[in-house]
């Protein structure tokens, strides 16, 4: 394994956090670390000092990242304009995403609120990701000074929100619904019969939230329900990776290392999503693999083009932001 040198570490911090942070914050840290390391009398002492310095490096990186994500260092009207853009696009995406489920004729039950509640986190996650494009444009319009360094971190926060919504959806709502389906599919008996996909469209919100089998509910998966679910899986297998790829492509324009890390994270999540939603279905995996290939090609094309990193100027005579 190649050893990480101090100049390589500083080049990475310059690419990720900007030249100013690399020069003012990380360079003194690394210089003190080097000097402390040389003064260590024994190997165990040197190892202890290395561990302490590495912990300090991680803590410092976390502090700098948190500081770069602070939007309140911008003028208030700029923050408001950027926030407004994000909220408007996310709310529009949420409303548009839920419209098909509101209008589906087969769902005539007045208790469809439960179904909308089930879908809302997933739709919100998608709409937040889609809102990143206009938000990034709003940030770019207001770019001044170090804002190009700040922008990817703000976008990363929005992505984290989006992922949290998705995790809430996949980690809590879907398992709760599936558990109800499985229990009732086995028990059967007389009572209310549900024939829709994943049996949730006729559940009340209270039944959904409780996570317990409602008395007398007997789901029955019908042909239309299966087709509906197949389309849902297809949409998830294509829309997610495409959204993730777009995000990484956009992010890579500002900072390549962050963009690549974001795409890796998004793709992992997309893969897990696909597996969870298709329960091992070969079709979903093939479709998502195809989408990922296109996404990878998009990213490769983008990272081959000149970005902001290429115009960064060397910040120190002891290391350079450019290799």
């Amino acid at each position: 394994m190649r050893r990480l040198s101090a100049p390589a570490l500083l080049r990475w911090t310059a690419r990720t956090f900007g030249d100013d942070a690399a020069t003012r914050v990380f360079e003194p840290l690394v210089a003190d670390w080097q000097r402390e390391r040389r003064g260590a009398p024994t190997v165990p002492r040197r190892v202890m000092r290395d561990l302490s310095a590495m912990a300090a490096l991680v803590a410092t990186a976390a502090h700098v990242a948190a500081r770069l994500a602070e939007p309140w260092h911008l003028p208030r009207h700029d923050v408001e304009a950027i926030g407004r853009t994000l909220v408007i696009y996310a709310a529009t995406g949420l409303a548009l995403g839920l419209v098909p489920f509101v209008l589906v004729p087969v769902v005539s039950d007045p208790l469809r609120l439960a179904f909308l509640a089930r879908m809302a986190p997933a739709v919100l996650a998608v709409s937040l990701a889609v809102a990143l494009l206009p938000t990034a444009a709003a940030i770019a319009r207001r770019s001044r000074g170090g804002w190009p360094t700040r922008a990817p971190w703000l976008l990363t926060l929005v992505t984290a929100l989006s992922m949290a919504a998705l995790v809430a959806h996949l980690g809590w709502v879907v398992p709760a619904v599936n558990r109800q389906y499985q229990e009732h599919a086995v028990s059967g008996g007389a009572g209310r019969v549900i024939g829709l996909s994943r049996d949730v469209k006729a559940l009340t919100l209270a039944e959904l939230v409780a996570g317990h089998p409602p008395a007398g509910v007997h789901p029955r998966v019908t042909g239309p329900a299966r087709r509906h679910e197949a389309w849902q899986r297809l949409a998830l297998a294509t829309a997610w990776p495409a959204t993730f790829a777009w995000f990484g492509w956009r992010l890579a324009r500002y900072r390549r290392s962050l963009g690549v890390a974001a795409v890796a994270g998004w793709w992992t999540l997309a893969f897990v999503t696909t597996l969870l939603m298709s329960f091992g279905g070969l079709g979903g995996i093939i479709v998502s693999a195809g989408t990922w290939t296109v996404a990878a090609a998009m990213l490769r094309r983008q990272t081959a083009a000149p970005g902001l990193d290429d115009v960064a100027t060397p910040a120190s005579p002891h290391w350079s932001a450019r290799r």
Partner: protein
């Protein structure tokens, strides 16, 4: 606290401040704080000249600016006034 340490000890580098503070300053935050103080004009810094033949990065030494010393003096004066006021109230 950083300003007090620098007034007391003179020019210091980041790790020396952590050691001189007796654990009150943390290594994971001191460099961020020093960077922000320098950005705001409270500190000046210079790179330590490397001896001939030495390798590695030069350490960065920090000194308080005149503005920072004025701020520190004003802070100490305010502290004294408040302490006097509190002791009068308690008595």
């Amino acid at each position: 606290m950083i300003l007090e340490l620098l007034v007391e000890h003179g020019e210091l580098f980041g790790l020396a401040m952590v050691e001189a503070s007796g654990g009150r300053l943390k290594r994971g935050t001191v460099y961020v704080t020093l960077g922000r103080m320098e950005e705001k004009g409270y500190l000046d810094s210079r790179q330590e000249p490397l001896p001939p033949g030495a390798t590695g990065l030069p350490r960065r030494l920090y000194t308080p600016t005149g503005h920072a010393l004025q701020v520190l003096a004003a802070w100490r004066a305010a502290e004294r006034v408040m302490a006097g006021h509190l002791s009068t109230t308690e008595a």
